[in-house]
Symmetry: C2
C-alpha cells in the first residue's frame, strides 16, 4: 500500500518514559546532568509534565515491566548494577500528580493483561480517566519476562499465543465494564427525589469466559473517554492481529525506513479487515533526536551519549527474555545457539525476538548493544533534524514518534526549545492545544469515545453482555 | 486492664474518606453545601488535603470496597439510587496529587488481600511511600461483599477464617519484599564505577507458601518507611488476633464507652502476647463531631443531618453482607431469621455482624439505620465537644479518632476552625507538625521503620527468606 496523503493534524510526539532510572538508554544515568536518580520524587514527574505541556506534546508514555531481567549471566546482578529497569515504581501512580499540574497533556501507561485481574484494573483506568478528565491511555502488554511469571505464582512464562488469547478476553471484559455497564445518562443526581444513579441504566456484565468470570457492575461511572486510548506494540503476527483489532495507537517496529513503511501499511490493511478505517490506527516509531544549535554541538552530544552507553546494560536488557548469550562461546553460530535454546524449551517469539539466526554470537552481541537504537536516528541542527522527521513521516506514513531520552530533562528541553519551533514554522506541529481529551487529540474534535467500528463499541447500551450474549438488565422499579 | 496514663503525644485525628459519593453518611449528598458529587475531580482531593494539613490532622484515611452492595432487596438498585459506595474510584490513585499539594499530612488507603496478587501491591505501596516521602499507610482488609468475590472469578465469598489465613501469608510475602529483599545501603549510585545498585545487597525472596509463590526481588528500592504503617479493623476473634500481630493502628469497634475500653485493653493485651509493647498499637474510634458556635447552632446542624439521612441507604449498606431483611416479615424474630440464613449457608461472621439475634425484624431495621452511628457522638460548642473527646480518651485509652463527614468540606472546616483551637488550648493537640513520616507521627521521632519486635522485622537483612527459611543471596561477584 502506498503512503496515504497526510491529514492536516500535526505530527505527534510522546515523551517515552518509565518510572525507573534506566529505561532504554543504559549507562546514561552517570551523566552529571542526568536526574534519573530522582525518579522516586513527585517533583521529578511534575517538572517533566510541565515541560512536556509547554512543548505541546501529545502525551507522556510510561513503559513498565513487572519482573527483573535475570536471564543474562543467569542472574539479576547486571540489571541491578546497571539499573536496567530496576529499581522501578508503579507507572499508574505517578500520573495523578502530573495531571494536577497540567491541563492538556495526555498520559499513557503500560499494564499487563497476564497477571492481574481485569476488574480492579478497569476501575484504576476509569479513575485515571476521571482524574485526568479524559487524558488517559493504556499500553496493553502481555509481559515476556520469565521472572515476572515467577512473581505471580507461575513456574515460568505463559506461552506467547496463550498470553494473547488471555489478553483478547481481558479486553472484552474491560470493554463490557467501560462501555456496557453504565449508560451515559445513568448518573442523574436528582437531589429532590434522592436518586443519585438511575438503576435502570446500570447493569451487571455477567462475563463468563475461558479465562475470566466477572459479574460487575463496573464501580466507576462513565469517564470522558470511557475506554482509555488503547496503545499496543505487538510485532509478531499474533501481536499485529491483536493491534489491528484493538489498538488505536501502535508502536511500530522495523529495521529501516522500508520495513517501517511496510509495517505501517500492513497494520492499516489488517485494521481495514477488522472493519476499521486505515486512519483509525495511529502509528508511532521510537525516535532518537539529538539536536544542537550547530551540527558540531549535536555530534558532540551524540558522541558523549555513545561513550557513556553500557554494553552490559543492553545485554542484561536483551537477556531478560531468557537467552543468556554470555553462556556461549563467542564464535558459536547463532543458528546453533537458537536451536539449542529451542531444545531447552526456550524457543519462543518473546525470547528470541532480540536475536537473529545469522552470524556468530560475537555478531549478535555487537548487534544487541544496538537493539534499542531505533532506525530513526536524527542528529544535527533543528533544521536538519526536522528534515529527517518530515522525510520519514512522508515516506513511512507514520503518525508520530516516541521520543527516547538520553538525559532527563535535557533531551526534552532540547526538543522543546529547538525542535518544536522548527516543526511549527513548517506547519508540522500544533501551536496550541485544541482538544480536551487524548482520543480527540489523536482523532479530532468530537471523538472522545471509541468509534462505532471499534470492537469495544459492540457492548454499548448493554448489548452483547452475559455468557449467552443476553443482557441482564437491573430492574428499574424500586418499592419504597 | 486499667487505662494507662497517656503519653504526651497529641490525640490523633484522621479524616475518614472514601473515593465515592456516599461513604457512610447515607442521604447527605443532597445537601446543597455538600460537594461529594465532585469526587471524580482532582481538585476535590487537593482542596481537602490542604485543609486537613492546615488543621494538622494525622492523615486522610480512605476506605474502599471492590464490589456492589447487592444483598438488600436482592439487587444493587438501592445502593445505586442512594449512591452507597457506588460509583467509586480507586483509592490509591487520589493520593499522589494530594501528596504533591502537602508536605506533612499522612495518607492511609484500604486494599484487600483476598483478590489481587501481593507482588504488584508491594510495588504500589512502595511507590506511594516514595512519592509521599514516607507518609503512606495501608488499611488491610479481607473483603466481605459477595459481589466482590464474583468480580474476581469466584462463585461467592471466601470463608472468613480462610480469608484471614490468606491475609496472614499475604503480609508475610509483603514483609519479605519490603523489609528483606533490599538492604538499606543497596543503592550506591557510584557513577565512577557504573554501579547503581550493589547486587550483593538485593535478594530474591523465593516465597513458596500455601497460597502464594513469589520469587522477587522487590522492584522498588527501600522507601522511607519500607513497610507502610499497617492499619486494620478486625472485630472478630480472628480479626483481633491478626491485628495484634500485624496492625500498628486499629479501628476499634464497640457499642458504648465501656466496650471500647474493653476492646482497647484486649488489643493491647493480645499485642503483648505477640511480643509487642502495649503502645505499639494505636487505637482509633469513629467519631461524629458536630460543632457550632452555640449549642443551638450545633443542634440545628445535627437535626438537618438526621432529617436528610436515608434509611434505605443504611439498609442497602447493611444488606451488602448478604442478609436481605426486606425479604422477611417485620414481626419475624431475628433469632429465627439468622437461623434461616444459617441453614441457607449465609451464616458467617462477616454477613451477620450487622445484626443481633434479639428482637424482631422491625427492631433490627430500626437498629441498622443507626449501625454506622458510632457511640462517640459529640454535638455542641467547641468546649462541649472537646470535653467529650477528652473524657472518652481518658476513659477508653483510645489514641484518636476517624472523623466522620456529613458534609464535604463542611465537617472538616468546622473541625479545623472550631475544634482544633480548643484542643490546642488544652494541650491535647499538636500546634505544628514535627515528624516527616507517618509512622514517626504515631510513634515518635526516629521510628520511621517497623520496631524490632514487629513480626515483619524478622525478614530484615534477608533473614528467614525462602521456602526453607534459608536466604538465597544474589552472588556479588560480576565477571566483566
Amino acid at each position: 500500500m502506498a503512503p496515504t496523503s497526510r491529514d492536516p493534524r500535526p505530527i505527534g510526539f510522546n515523551l517515552f518514559e518509565m518510572a525507573c532510572v534506566g529505561h532504554i538508554s543504559h549507562g546514561l544515568w552517570v551523566h552529571p546532568e542526568n536526574s534519573r536518580h530522582r525518579f522516586n520524587d513527585l517533583d521529578f514527574w511534575v517538572d517533566q509534565a510541565r515541560l512536556a505541556e509547554e512543548g505541546l506534546l501529545d502525551a507522556i508514555f510510561l513503559a513498565d515491566v513487572i519482573g527483573t531481567y535475570d536471564g543474562y549471566r543467569a542472574g539479576p546482578e547486571t540489571a541491578l548494577q546497571e539499573a536496567v529497569q530496576i529499581p522501578s515504581n508503579d507507572p499508574l501512580l505517578v500520573i495523578p500528580a502530573m495531571a494536577a499540574a497540567t491541563r492538556h497533556l495526555g498520559f499513557a501507561a503500560t499494564f499487563s493483561t497476564t497477571y492481574e485481574p481485569p476488574f480492579a484494573f478497569a476501575r484504576r483506568a476509569s479513575t485515571l480517566d476521571h482524574l485526568t478528565k479524559g487524558r488517559f491511555g493504556w499500553n496493553v502488554v502481555t509481559s515476556y519476562l520469565p521472572n515476572a511469571a515467577r512473581n505471580f505464582g507461575l513456574p515460568g512464562e505463559v506461552e506467547h499465543d496463550t498470553r494473547y488469547a488471555i489478553a483478547d478476553e481481558y479486553l472484552d471484559v474491560l470493554y463490557k465494564l467501560w462501555e456496557g455497564s453504565w449508560d451515559d445518562d445513568a448518573v442523574v443526581q436528582d437531589r429532590e427525589n434522592h436518586v443519585y444513579t438511575d438503576p435502570a441504566k446500570v447493569r451487571y456484565i455477567d462475563h463468563v469466559g475461558e479465562h475470566f468470570s466477572v459479574a460487575g457492575p463496573h464501580l466507576a461511572q462513565p469517564s470522558a473517554q470511557r475506554t482509555p486510548v488503547i496503545f499496543q506494540a505487538g510485532s509478531s503476527s499474533t501481536g499485529k492481529a491483536f493491534a489491528a483489532k484493538h489498538a488505536e495507537g501502535v508502536f511500530v517496529g522495523g529495521y529501516d525506513l522500508e520495513s517501517y513503511r511496510q509495517n505501517v501499511a500492513d497494520l492499516r490493511r489488517l485494521a481495514v479487515l477488522e472493519g476499521r478505517e486505515p486512519t483509525d490506527v495511529k502509528t508511532y516509531a521510537m525516535a532518537v533526536v539529538i539536536v544542537g544549535r550547530t551540527r558540531a554541538e549535536a555530534e558532540r552530544k551524540a558522541e558523549e551519549f555513545e561513550r557513556l552507553s553500557r554494553a552490559e546494560g543492553y545485554l542484561a536488557h536483551a537477556g531478560g527474555g531468557g537467552i543468556d548469550l554470555a553462556a556461549y562461546p563467542r564464535d558459536a553460530l547463532m543458528s546453533e545457539v537458537l536451536a539449542q535454546e529451542a531444545a531447552a524449551g526456550r524457543d519462543r517469539t518473546s525470547r528470541t525476538r532480540f536475536f537473529r539466526a545469522e552470524g556468530t554470537v560475537a555478531d549478535a552481541l555487537r548487534e544487541v548493544t544496538r537493539f534499542d537504537r531505533p532506525p530513526f536516528f536524527a542528529i544535527g541542527t533543528p533544521s536538519e533534524v526536522v528534515d529527517e522527521i518530515e522525510g520519514w513521516v512522508r515516506e513511512t506514513d507514520l503518525d508520530g514518534f516516541n521520543l527516547r531520552q538520553f538525559l532527563t530533562p535535557g533531551t526534552l528541553e532540547d526538543f522543546v526549545e529547538l525542535v518544536v519551533p522548527e516543526l511549527q514554522r513548517r506547519g508540522l506541529y500544533r501551536t496550541r492545544y485544541e482538544e480536551s481529551t487524548l482520543r480527540e487529540r489523536l482523532f479530532g474534535p468530537g471523538r472522545a469515545r471509541l468509534p462505532d467500528t471499534h470492537h469495544g463499541a459492540r457492548y454499548r447500551g448493554g448489548a452483547n453482555l452475559g455468557p449467552a450474549g443476553v443482557p441482564r438488565v437491573v430492574t428499574a422499579a424500586l418499592a419504597r
